[in-house]
Amino acid sequence: MTDVALGWWGVPLALLGGAIRASTPFLFVSLGECLTEKSGRINLGLEGILVMGAMSGYAISYLTGSPWLGVLVAGGVGALLGVLHAVICGLKRVNDIAVGIALMLFGIGLAFFLGKSFIQPAAPMLPSLDLGWWSGIAQVHAALQVNVLFIVGLLLAPAIAWGLRNTRWGLVLRMVGDSADAALAAGYSVNLVRLAATAAGGFLSGIGGSFLSLYYPGSWNERLSSGQGITAVALVIFARWQPMYCVYAALLFGAAGAIGPALQSVGVTSGYYLFNAAPYLLTLLIMAVTCSPKRALVGAPSELTISK
């Protein structure tokens, strides 16, 4: 294998690599939030769940030696926090956006508190599939190291889209999200359906967090997440609550996050931090272009606080 000097050709390659490597947390969190928002509730606390998932996944992987057990526990912790969100939101007069902010602060604080002792030791990492074996060029090889979770996420999106459209569960979920009154009349407990949807969303977000600590960047520290959770919430709006669009959006955001390091590798070092802000800037621009003050967004569940 040779380390070929690719020059500027290295930039699109690095963006592809970034899209594959860094998009997984965006993908899982946005799919989870998509489910939650389809039920008519918004969970802004996914940032906190992501950080808790990252911490608990890393801790379990270190303690048991099994990174996959870590992923599972991270999902479980995420689901528990999702239930906490749903229970508080289920009370009368409680605003889900405010509970989300509280959960974000609570999750981050708890993760820093419990994770203090796991900053130093090295935990076993998740393995990756080598899809670049056919190439002799080291950069191509590196770009095509694909983590199994990424593939799971890619398969999950069409599965969720299908489930929402074609199953009884999907129909009930969408009904609760579009008209709580109709769901109530049909004999479904709105709070219970939302609880399940928020727990499922928390589960997926927790897994997204474990990817951060167990694969890329692949360590646990207090600066691990830099807003991927909240970006993913915005990304759902951009994806118009469609799981397949979440995939494209997540890939786009993964690539945007790789702009800084990619340009640095070809010698463009000024503005490194500004390029790191690219995903946030992109989210903001996309929201400014696609939202409208005059009407609710197409495809938005009508029970959602932000579309009322």
Binding site: I88, N95, I101, L105, I108, Y273, A277, L284
Partner: protein, 353 residues
């Protein structure tokens, strides 16, 4: 939800009693949580009181920590009058500090008072424009203000990093990239007889001004009408766009000023230390105070006390410094859960004969 009519006495008692109840519940839960780490709860509470309010020394520490919270809380409290949930105070705080440091560097050599005024103006303007952007995006593009304000926090931090590592970097700052120091001559003094800088007094004054603005002017009344019923506000012809932009500008100017104070009274230069989470704690302060500008003052002092006691908990009990973050998160959760109690407490009603 702002209430326009004068509140009955029972409602005021409730507005104080219910958050207090939530606070006590959170303290109990936190005690149980720490008990799992082998810490005796009563020792914990005693140390927290001692670290926050037990002596003149700890009181001063508490007031210094409360100073930025008074102003960052307004970033959430003012837009709340319009029914908006803005949580981007951290970004305005960081940029306010950065703008203030830049102003001091640009005016180096001028009279101290002129430089300090310019720093304050730069901080107010930078923070104000930053959050006014949130208002404009909401008003003219329908972008959710909670999400956009939080995204802007990350963009503000990236801007800070970019500038202190590049164009504004002091070549002498090796380990921690920073702007050049503003110079001792330009630092804000302490309130005479204390170790507390003038920033605390600024914060209290600004909260009182915000109270007057919101509760005793036509501008504030209009804002609360919009928050109560946007459709009614439109029908009576209130200038909603101007109200949203004006309120969000003021909401950002307050944490911008707090950032200026942090640079001018504490750090002496702008660097990564500015990203200390004052903006996030401010959100909690605003919610605990039920977004009332005067309520912010005691709540900010209380939260300042909790964070001041963090060091003591770390030294004496070996708890991680994130312990105060856990407590803050728990308080927030309990507080929101306690919303359900409003109107349900059977308080003795004060009735007129």
């Amino acid at each position: 939800m702002p209430v326009l009519a004068a509140k009955p006495a029972g409602a005021i008692v409730e507005a104080i009693l219910i958050p207090a109840l939530a606070l006590v519940t959170a303290l109990l839960l936190f005690g149980v949580f720490c008990a799992f780490r082998g810490v005796a709860p009563f020792e914990l509470y005693a140390l927290m009181f001692q670290g926050g309010f037990g002596s003149w020394f700890s009181w001063q520490n508490t007031l210094i920590r409360a100073a930025p919270l008074l102003l960052t809380a307004l970033c959430t409290a003012l837009p709340a009058q319009l029914g908006m949930v803005v949580i981007g105070g951290e970004g305005a705080f960081v940029l306010g500090g950065l703008a203030a440091a830049s102003a001091a560097i640009a005016l180096h050599g001028a009279a101290p008072l002129a430089v300090q005024l310019a720093m304050a103006a730069a901080g107010l303007l930078a923070g104000g424009l930053w959050i006014a952007m949130v208002g404009a995006l909401r008003q003219y593009r329908g972008v959710n203000e909670t999400i956009s304000s939080l995204l802007l926090v990350y963009i503000a931090i990236a801007l800070l990093n970019h500038l202190v590592e590049g164009p504004l970097r002091d070549p002498g700052s090796l380990n921690k990239p920073s702007t050049p120091p503003i110079g001792d001559a330009y630092m804000l003094a302490n309130i005479p007889g204390t170790e507390v800088h003038w920033g605390f007094a600024f914060g209290v004054v600004v909260c009182v001004l915000a109270y007057v603005l919101i509760h005793h002017t036509v501008f504030g009344f209009s804002a609360r009408v919009v928050g109560g019923n946007a459709r009614a506000a439109k029908v009576v012809g209130l200038p909603i766009g101007r109200l949203v932009l004006g309120i969000t500008f003021l909401a950002g100017a307050a944490p911008g000023l707090a950032g200026m104070v942090e640079v001018a009274a504490v750090d002496g230069q702008a660097n990564g230390t500015l990203v200390a989470g004052y903006g996030y704690t401010g959100i909690l302060v605003s919610f605990l105070a039920r977004h009332h500008p005067l309520g912010i003052i005691p709540v900010a002092i209380l939260m300042g006390g909790i964070s001041a006691s963090g060091g003591l908990l770390q030294r004496r009990l070996g708890l991680p410094d994130a312990a105060t973050l856990v407590l803050q998160g728990t308080v927030f959760m309990c507080l929101l859960g306690s919303e359900v109690l409003h109107g349900r407490l059977s308080l003795p009603r004060l009735q007129r004969a």
